[in-house]
Symmetry: C2
Subunit: 275 residues, 2 copies
């Protein structure tokens, strides 16, 4: 069997490395819109060969690991793929794409979101063990072909992932809160500090707390722009919920309601029981 | 020489361990308002002996590692300390305390803030290397005695810290942005997610980004209540600056201004050049 990966960055490149370990595939083909990324992916050994977008369509399984705005456009060019082909989208927002999958390839399509990543991007960010022991959310499986579902599960289990099923609407609601909102906050915190502090102060004074809180503000703006665009309504709702908590904290501080502030922080402490 | 530590939690306990390694002190005495903490500190070997608050006053150097509201109260009870005694406050906000140090012991007093910590607290959180290679900010040194300044520097260099001097007003402004604001945000994010998601979902879905963003929401509510109280005005200003960045992001998302959103995130990316 042959696997194809479109998009050879952190996720696609790591998938190449993980698939190699399974020995399930005779060859792993890659494609990236950026020729430099194809060159890097080859020299890093992320895929066996780089080919054209047309040749990728001949693979048994095709992974899409590209910014979300490119997914539909790419799917629309998949005219003549065989009925047994499995197309797996690895993007971070699911509902909008679910509505736009060309009906002719709906059974071929599997929506999948690996709960793994780092703040780094591009082929050099790829990691062999990025997916190991991590969750993968498979969405709207009732609309995918039985073979494709079984095949995708087989692959994800082979690379060490644990499968959770969810519909794409729920996925996007949960992820807005648990992943997309934290990214917006981290970017906002980074910009707040950049607007007020000079580099020397930042270099000298930042501790572990700030480092953690700003880590994901290093993430790819191209990828995240598309995620926020495709999950716009849920993210706006999450920002609104977060704003209410910030407003409450601010009010308690402003009005010297220190015991209530302490209780508010103690409530937050309980989160650690679930993590 | 003898060292005394008041407050045997993460900071005080770690100081006990760090001081032991320097071999500068014949004995290290400890005191904590909580008898259980004294017992734990002894069995963990954080200090050599636990004594009364009165006996601590006979030490050559006395560290205060307690919630800020207790600092002034404790200092007011330091009636008869010898003129050569050095009192080092290790708290996270400096200006308010600077105004309230009893004048009789002003020369004995050193304001110090180690840029190190973890989200854990209590004696069991103490770490031998918590201060190693970290920054310590010494504040308003011009108001401290020459001997006390020299002695404090000697101690901090001995435990592997790098010294930065700053006045307490500047300290509180910088720390509001770089440390206190991130803590408020992390508590608010934790409470946002707790208000909407059930424990099972949190357990299943959280990834590295959320884990990092919520780590410091596990921090001590008692300690942080006092920090936020003592640095109230600067924190309210920082929250206001952060609100503006969040509002900008929200507006760009709401109005589908995706290219500008991408630029806003790319600006945040530049922070990593200074960290």
């Amino acid at each position: 069997m042959q696997a194809g990966i479109i998009g050879l960055g952190l996720i696609g490149g790591s998938m190449g490395l993980a698939l190699q370990e399974t020995k399930m595939f005779k060859t792993i083909l890659g494609y990236d819109i950026n020729p430099l990324h194809m060159q890097q992916a080859l020299s890093l050994g992320l895929v066996d060969e780089c080919v054209s977008l047309n040749e990728i369509q001949e693979c048994d399984v095709i992974f899409l690991a590209i910014p979300l705005d490119g997914v539909i456009q790419t799917l629309e060019n998949f005219h003549n793929i065989p009925s047994h082909t499995t197309i797996i989208d690895l993007g971070g927002a699911k509902e909008k794409i679910a509505h736009e999958i060309p009906s002719g390839i709906r059974k071929n399509f599997i929506g999948a979101h690996p709960m793994s990543g780092t703040e780094f991007y591009g082929p050099k960010a790829a990691l062999k063990d990025l997916f190991k022991n991590r969750i993968i959310i498979l969405t709207d499986l009732e609309n995918s072909g039985e073979f494709q579902v079984a095949y995708a599960k087989e692959i994800f289990v082979s690379i060490g992932m644990r499968i959770i099923k969810m519909n794409s609407k729920e996925h996007d609601q949960h992820l807005a809160l648990i992943s997309h909102l934290p990214h917006v906050i981290s970017y906002a915190l980074a910009n707040t500090v950049l607007s007020r502090e000079n580099p020397q102060t930042i270099l000298a004074l930042v501790g572990g707390g700030f480092k953690d809180m700003s880590r994901i503000s290093k993430s790819s703006p191209i990828m995240w722009k598309d995620v926020l665009k495709q999950n716009k309504e849920n993210i706006l709702k999450s920002i609104d919920l977060f704003r209410k908590e910030m407003f409450l904290a601010e009010k308690l501080i402003q009005e010297d309601r220190w015991e209530e502030l302490k209780e508010w922080m103690a409530k937050a402490n309980t989160l650690q029981n679930f993590m």
